[in-house]
């Protein structure tokens, strides 16, 4: 692989048969990731996918890259160790809403606050797929499932809010079947630090259509708010816009047809964590794209490497013979 001819999506597919249910949104995400790798001319041998456990976490098996299918919820920790050991590798974490927000919530928080230079794709289907359909930490209140026969009473979390609260420096959101996915993934990958991307994913078996209002090929355009730095916050087909209510320090979703002009709308500023926070959980519509990006935050693995180098520069390459003799020693003849 010396010359690295232009690879195709197929070059990133492993020889393993893809084993998701027919119609699962995971297929589209797989294709989106493979396309991203092609777009960025990734080298398969320098790319690593690390996942936890869940339907989504089967992902690495289908990639012709290095990979680990680890244990439930801990993928960010494995990835952090790998990235600290091998900053030269391009590391991707694949996780589900249960994997990353239920059992693995803490590792997600910590990889984000540390800002390790890797990408996280959170497949949010608002359900535990692999264990056959129990409600998850992102499921709506009232979700009927085998473990909540009378409807769940747990208030859900909003993944991107958890990320913002954890001091994440790159926060994006997309959905499975959009062509914009590779664009967002590429931005996450280009980001120095943790590129966190939530992907709304349909699970046709256990939670079919839960994002339909947003993702529907036609009707969805009304509700998809693809944010762009410096551009007004307006949905794809111009139906809804987002305005600041300055009196109450709240944002409002407004119907453009009700006489609102584009000038009244907020402009997206991807460097503003407050704005990202405010648009992260809007009624009716869904903000998508790069909600927040802070390119000036220090990167964990780089800082760790730098300290290692500093120590070497200052103290010289470690010498065990000298170390053994440091402090008090004495000789017995």
């Amino acid at each position: 692989m010396t010359e690295n001819p232009k690879l195709t999506k197929k070059d990133f597919a492993s020889d393993q048969e893809v084993r998701w249910c027919p119609g699962c949104g995971d297929y589209a995400i797989l294709a989106g990731v493979q396309k991203t790798l092609v777009d960025i001319s990734a080298k398969p041998e320098n790319t690593v996918f690390i996942s936890g456990i869940g339907c989504s976490s089967r992902f690495p098996y289908y990639m012709n890259t290095y990979g680990m299918h680890t244990i439930h919820g801990r993928a960010p920790a494995f990835a952090t160790g790998l990235k600290l050991a091998r900053p030269d590798l391009d590391v991707w974490v694949i996780t589900g809403d249960g994997d990353s927000l239920s059992i693995g919530g803490n590792h997600l928080v910590h990889v984000l606050r540390r800002n390790v230079n890797l990408q996280i794709i959170l497949f949010n289907n608002q359900i535990y797929g692999l264990t056959k359909g129990q409600y998850s930490p992102t499921s709506d209140v009232g979700q009927v499932s085998p473990s909540s026969p009378y409807g769940s009473v747990d208030q859900p979390v909003v993944p991107v809010r958890v990320a913002l609260g954890a001091n994440a420096q790159f926060v994006g959101r997309s959905f499975d079947v959009t062509r914009n996915l590779p664009i967002l993934l590429r931005a996450a990958r280009d980001f120095e630090g943790t590129g966190f991307v939530e992907v709304l994913q349909n699970c046709p078996v256990f939670n079919d259509g839960v994002f339909e209002l947003i993702t529907d090929r036609k009707a969805g355009k009304q509700r998809q708010l693809w944010v762009e730095h410096g551009k007004p916050l307006v949905t794809l087909d111009g139906t809804y816009g987002v305005r600041l209510n300055k009196n109450e320090l709240r944002v409002e979703v407004v119907k453009m047809e009700e006489g609102v002009s584009t000038e009244d709308l907020l402009l997206h500023d991807e460097t503003n964590r407050n704005l990202a926070w405010m648009i992260s959980d809007l009624p009716e519509i869904k903000a998508l794209g790069i909600l927040f990006r802070n390119t000036s935050a220090p990167v964990y693995d780089a800082a760790v490497r730098q300290q290692l180098q500093m120590a070497k520069d200052k103290l010289g390459e470690g010498d065990m013979n000298a170390l053994l003799r440091s402090g008090h020693t004495w000789t017995v003849d």
């Binding site: 041998e45 690495p60 680990m68 160790g81």
Partner: protein, 617 residues
């Protein structure tokens, strides 16, 4: 100044005791350094409370440091002190019961105030009633003499008072003929930025020393001398177990020619391993303070996947949390070292006390049939070599290795002949870089059964590892029943083969065919060894086997054991190795359990074994 005549002693046990704030650990370790420099053999035992800084004067706030030094080879910090230094009433109350009759008590009368006496639960001042009658007593107002000694430095009452441990140390130095120089140098370095404090402490140290030289000590109390031990020639230093582990791991990784990655979450008594390693950045050692024990081990496994030596260290509760991830390392057959510095359990237990009760957990504490290698270090210095051995096994056999230490080893220091690194063979790792054709990650070495170790970045060898069962011949996920059976046996067999590169079972002392053998593991080494000697001195025919590899057991152990009439296994747990020996070797191993958060005393061990031998006959 007249030359003092000194009485020769062959061995002395001194216990320094005071408030957590009295600096007893420092005093003890300075005495240790000076003693080591004198050429004595020695062993130490720091014994401090769980509270960070317990309120002054309370019984539970007493901090102790015991040192045993001698003109001969010794292996334990001593059963009972010959000398007790008690800086306040609470220290006296807690420690007096341990002191040998006729022993020497050095007390700081200045701290025997009404309020301190009350906190210690004394109704009468024990210095003034008959409490100390069975002992020789040096009753001094150390507080006052210290203030006097340092008054020219204008430190303020509090800081001045803090010098009293140095005054005491000075006196002890004189009593036992140690040199002050190392402590003086240490004080100057430590207080480099506060020279006034350094000089005040030195003044106190000297004052204590001078007091010994000049004051007329009560009759029965003189100056002593403990001649040099005839230690093997060579260069020595003091070392505690966690330092030896840190250095051993670092050197092991060097011998394997791969970087060391240490992921850990602080926990007593393992934390100082993290601290020690964090200082070795110029050795290329990357340390990662994780958000919890699970993340720590997972990060280490991730690093191993990338071609580092992943190591994680913790104590019992942390090992419990890591069990699931360790299973993944077993299933993916990645090198990994888990250091368990054991402490008293169950649950939070006795966090600052020592115990050996994680043996079962180490060998069997995981879901599924999940074998790994379990090694145990027996002395602080042995931690260095055991760590190197662990690295070798982990990388050569592509397996997790659990390395057992304990609180006693971690904190106890011993003089240690500095090893000649040239004598230790290296074992460089070669990452697999074979043909892509026919490659899968579970290709194995026929002899060791280790799988290949190809690392990310190698073109053409892209592969995925995971915790689902994998086909023996393809490396892909396999639900095939026969394959699972075969893989289960293979994983077990691989670990058994490690025995082939480990030393065969041997006697530590005594002879095969003796009436009785004591089988030990870990930090009980010194106590068992010396107890065996005493038993043989009593004419009893006993032998000692000390086991360094719990899993697999050393080759030939069963045969060796079967030569003995009786097997007793002294352990600081409720009989775990004894059970394991019965389970694995079918031998009749009796347990002698001491689960008290304290090492065995030689005398109690000797007596118990003697008792059992008599009852049987």
């Amino acid at each position: 100044m007249q030359e003092t005549t000194r009485e020769d002693l062959d061995s002395v046990v001194i216990r320094f005791a005071g408030d957590s704030g009295d600096g007893m650990q420092l005093t003890g370790s300075q005495f240790t350094s000076a003693t080591a420099l004198m050429g004595n053999d020695l062993a130490t035992f720091p014994d401090f409370p769980a509270e960070i800084r317990a309120p002054a004067g309370t019984l539970y706030g007493v901090s102790g440091f015991q040192i045993h030094f001698a003109d001969h080879d010794i292996l334990t910090p001593g059963d009972a002190p010959d000398v007790l230094v008690a800086m306040n009433p609470a220290a006296l109350k807690v420690n007096l019961p341990m002191l040998n009759r006729g022993g020497l008590v050095v007390v700081n009368r200045g701290a025997f105030t009404k309020s301190n006496l009350k906190k210690a639960g004394y109704e009468e001042n024990p210095l003034d009633d008959n409490t100390l009658d069975p002992f020789r007593v040096l009753d001094l107002d150390i507080s006052k003499m210290t203030l006097e000694a340092v008054k020219e430095f204008d430190l303020g009452a509090k800081a001045a008072g803090r010098c009293k441990n140095m005054w005491t140390l000075g006196l002890m130095f004189w009593l036992f003929g140690r040199d002050r120089q190392s402590t003086v140098a240490w004080l100057r370095e430590k207080f480099a930025k506060k020279p006034k404090v350094a000089e005040a402490n030195i003044a106190a140290l000297n004052a204590g020393h001078i007091y010994g030289e000049t004051a007329e000590l009560p009759s029965g109390i003189g100056a002593y001398n403990v001649p040099k031990a005839t230690l093997e020639a060579g260069e020595y230093r003091n070392i505690d177990g966690n330092l030896a582990l840190a250095w051993g791991l670092t050197h092991g990784a060097k011998l394997a020619n791969i970087p060391l990655f240490y992921g850990s979450y602080p926990i007593t008594p393992a934390s100082s391993l993290l601290h020690n390693l964090a200082k070795l950045k110029n050795f290329g050692v990357a340390t990662f303070q994780a958000e919890d024990e699970i993340a720590a081990v997972c990060a280490a496994i991730g690093a191993s996947f990338g071609g580092s030596l992943g190591v994680t260290g913790t104590s019992g509760p942390g090992v419990a949390l890591k069990a699931e991830a360790i299973g993944l390392a077993i299933s993916t057959e990645l090198p990994l070292i888990i250091v368990d510095v054991q402490r008293g359990g169950p649950s939070t237990g006795l966090p600052t006390k020592t115990e050996q009760s994680d043996l079962f957990q180490a060998v069997w504490g995981r879901n599924g049939d999940a074998p790994l290698c379990v090694l145990a270090a027996s002395t602080p210095g042995d931690c260095f070599f055991r760590a190197i051995e662990a690295v070798k096994i982990a990388t050569k056999f592509m397996t997790p290795v659990m390395l057992l230490s304990d609180g006693y080893l971690a904190n106890g220091a011993e003089p240690w002949p500095i090893p000649d690194l040239g004598q230790i063979d290296d074992f460089p790792v070669s990452f697999y870089e074979g043909e892509a054709e026919g490659f899968h990650p579970y290709l194995r070495d026929e002899e060791t059964l280790a799988r290949v170790w190809p690392i990310p970045g190698t073109p053409g060898l892209q592969h995925r590892l995971g915790g689902l069962e994998k086909g023996q011949d393809s490396g892909n996920i396999s639900y095939d029943p026969d394959n699972h059976h075969a893989m289960t046996e293979l994983r077990a067999e691989k670990i058994q083969r490690i025995a082939q590169i480990l030393p065969e079972a041997t006697l530590d002392s005594g002879e095969a065919g003796a009436d009785l053998v004591l089988v030990g593991w870990g930090s009980t080494y010194g106590a068992i060894r010396q107890s065996c000697e005493r038993l043989r001195e009593q004419g009893k025919n006993v032998a000692h086997i000390h086991i360094h590899s719990i899993w697999p057991l050393p080759r030939g152990l069963k045969e060796l054991l079967s030569s003995f009439g009786r097997i007793i296994v002294p352990e600081m747990n409720n009989g775990q190795l004894a059970a394991l020996l019965r389970a694995e070797l079918g031998v009749n191993a009796e347990s002698y359990a001491k689960v008290a958060g304290q090492p065995f005393r030689i005398a109690e061990l000797t007596d118990e074994v003697a008792r059992r031998m008599e009852n049987a006959s």
